[in-house]
């Protein structure tokens, strides 16, 4: 046990206490913080546009006055007086029009028309429909309109109802589902894939370094092959947990950094990417938990396979060739997780969620977008764990044979030979 814990610690230190790890994490943290806060950052740096808005020489404002009941309010004149204190240099060019003179579509498409205010309802219960291309002016306009209305309705005053019309969708933003699925795929699948690839690379390089230098013979003469095998797996999974934990910390950090961009400075609260995702996935805590569990068990599965192939290889080049089947399977899982939601192939996604080689990547996304229920996701996880146990049981004796062998035969011949020897007689 002492040697096992030493091997695990040593393996972990080899990965973590390296300049490459520190530098890559600094880069990842900066990128993550930037990406998560991109909307805020953009808003922050473009917020001066708001200050500029009133500086526009003329803001063309159109008023449709349909207030009924004691129609004594001269909205247009009053608004003109309020918004243009310096009548000699008017900022707002206010024009009263009738309802028939303009359509909403026409307003949004016409660059010369900036604000359209449609007064309707009664003086007791006014309703103001506002269409504003300078949203930051809404607050000012609301305040000025209220002041005008209060003057005519001091007693029993009721705040008018303000309705804000939104610019029509350009088509890119239409249909939240594809956008949602797209972002989900990228946000979940990519980190899972990257973490598993990292793990495969690390364990492979580690084992092959020891094997290609023949140091493995000295190591295995001091510690059992089984202990060596499990120490590599444990060190790698601990590394992945640390790296995954750091990613979560960077995520939290990005939330804190987001607060550094004050809401007042940008007019209104701009949500971070995490907030947007949290809004889109109501059950995100469970989705996150499943993603973590699947990535841990899935990484273990791929680590076991990668360790086996590394033990069978004799050189780095050999290992690159040997790991290709594993990488292809992983890649297939990645593409399924990435594209199946986009093409609405939910049945296919569901099916793939129960196949252990694909489920580590596919199942979390399937659960997140609602293709899998909680029970189904748990079943998928149980299948994955059971498969991992069986694979480990089969591979361990083969690893013991392969790690000390330097055969140069073809891949399949070698695999066959090692399996035969592994199960013929164990040390």
């Amino acid at each position: 046990m002492k040697k096992f814990s030493f091997l695990v610690t040593h393996g972990l230190k080899k990965r973590v206490a390296r300049k490459a790890f520190i530098i890559s994490n600094i880069i990842i943290a900066i990128l993550l913080i930037a990406v998560v806060n991109l909307p805020r950052i953009i808003s922050f740096f473009t917020s001066d546009k708001i200050d500029d808005e009133p500086k526009i020489e003329v803001i063309n404002l159109y008023v449709i006055d349909e207030l009924t009941q004691s129609q004594t309010v001269k909205i247009t004149d009053e608004l003109d007086a309020k918004l243009n204190p310096d009548q000699a240099n008017k900022v707002f060019n206010i024009t009263e029009i009738s309802k028939d003179d303009i359509t909403i579509d026409n307003f949004w498409n016409d660059d010369t028309k900036h604000i359209l205010i449609h007064f309707t309802g009664t003086i007791n219960e006014p309703v103001i429909n506002m269409y504003n291309k300078y949203e930051s002016l809404n607050t000012i306009l609301e305040r000025e309109i209220e002041i005008i209305l209060i003057r005519y309705k001091l007693n029993d005053y009721q705040r008018p109802i303000f309705n804000y019309g939104e610019a029509p969708s350009t088509g890119d933003e239409g249909g939240t589902n594809p956008a949602f699925l797209n972002s989900m795929s990228t946000f979940l699948v990519l980190p899972l894939f990257i973490l598993i690839v990292f793990a495969i690379q690390f364990v492979g390089v580690d084992i092959i370094e020891e094997k290609s230098t023949k140091a493995i013979e000295i190591i295995i003469s001091s510690v059992p092959a089984r202990m060596h095998f499990f120490s590599k797996i444990v060190a790698s999974i601990l590394f992945i947990i640390i790296q995954g934990g750091l990613l979560i910390v960077y995520g939290l950090l990005s939330g804190l950094v987001g607060r550094a961009f004050p809401a007042e400075a940008i007019g209104e609260e701009t949500p971070s990417l995490l907030q947007v995702l949290a809004e889109m996935i109501p059950n995100w805590p469970l989705a996150l938990l499943f993603a973590i569990l699947f990535v841990i068990v899935g990484t273990l599965l791929y680590l076991v396979l990668a360790s086996l192939f590394a033990s069978m290889a004799t050189t780095q080049e050999d290992y690159q060739q040997f790991q290709t089947p594993v990488m292809l399977v992983l890649l297939a899982g990645f593409y399924i997780g990435m594209f199946a939601p986009m093409f609405n192939a939910t049945s296919f996604l569901k099916l793939m969620s129960f196949i252990p080689f694909f489920s580590p990547i596919v199942a979390p996304i399937a659960f997140t977008i609602g293709s899998l229920t909680i029970i189904e996701t748990v079943i998928s996880l149980v299948i994955l764990i059971a498969f991992l146990v069986i694979i480990t049981y089969i591979i361990t004796p083969v690893y013991r044979v392969a790690i000390l062998s330097f055969e140069q035969t073809k891949l399949l011949t070698r695999i066959k030979s090692y399996f035969k020897k592994g199960f013929a007689k164990t040390k």
């Binding site: 040593h10 370094e209 023949k214 013979e217 000295i218 190591i219 510690v223």
Partner: protein
């Protein structure tokens, strides 16, 4: 020891006592490395067992054994210090003890300046020294050295010899293999010569030499080579620049040769020598080849 139908080592048996140096000889593929691997417990013999002080070799007593394999077996990206610390920890040694012993060996081999250098930056000879240090860092009671002198210059060979002798004095058992039979002859009390997995010769060197009847006679003087060739029991007669070398079947033939030589003129040298280990090796291995 069998690999499928192939017999790697057949019917090998020997015993080593504390303070003894044992030589394992053989051509390439003779089964030396397989034997070392069996001793280390890395390979399980198909039949028989390897006992260390009456116990089977396993991971419970492996900390008392040092093992140096024939090829370079160093993690080349490590520094000397990190590598020895790593391998020493695998022998359950504390870092303090490892570093103390490392300093001693680096000093003894005159390579203290390489302590923080990466293995890949060292010359082959210095890498060989580090490999030796890694094998002896646990002060082993049983030291297995597979071709320890290969690639070493005479000065470094002497350093290794002295170090091995020191372990012998401490009471360690040493098993080593070598192609250089001169070293084996001057170094070992006991040897085994393997050829294609079979034991060709086994036992104490003096006994082996005595039992190996073939001898050679070195003569300087005016002798008739044809007369020598016609003496019964003479295997070959060869004229060198200075002397005549007569190979004979057994010691008895030497008397017959002497009788003839004593009749010749200008005889300055008549010397009967026992066969060298190399000659015994060649003679025995050649014989086995004929059988196989």
């Amino acid at each position: 020891m069998k690999y499928g139908d192939f017999i790697a080592v057949h019917d090998l048996s020997f015993t080593i006592s504390p303070g003894e140096i044992f030589g394992l000889l053989g051509t390439n593929g003779a089964g030396k490395t397989t034997t070392f691997r069996m001793i280390m417990g890395l390979l399980e013999p198909s039949r028989g067992e390897v006992l260390y002080f009456g116990e089977k070799v396993g991971y419970h007593n492996v900390n008392e054994i040092g093992y140096m394999i024939e090829e370079r077996s160093l993690l080349t990206k490590y520094t000397v210090k990190d590598l020895i610390l790593f391998l020493g920890r695998l022998k359950d040694l504390s870092p303090d003890v490892i570093l103390k012993r490392l300093d001693y060996w680096l000093e003894r081999f005159g390579i203290t300046e390489y302590k923080d250098k990466k293995i890949k930056e060292l010359s082959k000879g210095n890498q060989q020294k580090i490999q030796f240090i890694s094998a002896v860092i646990n002060n082993p009671k049983l030291l297995l050295l597979d071709e320890p002198f290969s690639g070493l210059d005479p000065i470094n060979t002497q350093l290794f010899e002295e170090a091995i002798r020191d372990f012998q004095k401490q009471g360690s058992m040493i098993v080593f293999s070598s192609h250089q039979l001169d070293y084996v002859e001057s170094f070992c009390e006991q040897i085994v010569i393997l050829e294609r997995g079979h034991v060709v010769i086994s036992g104490h060197i003096n006994d082996i030499k005595r039992d190996f009847k073939r001898q050679k006679i070195k003569i300087i003087g005016d002798v008739d080579l044809d007369v020598l060739r016609n003496i019964k029991g003479v295997l070959s007669v060869k004229q060198n620049a200075k002397e005549v070398i007569v190979k004979i079947e057994s010691e008895e033939v030497a008397e017959e040769v002497f009788r003839y030589v004593s009749t010749c003129k200008n005889i300055k040298k008549y010397d009967v020598e026992m066969a060298s280990l190399s000659e015994i090796f060649v003679a025995k291995v050649g014989k086995l080849d004929e059988k196989i």
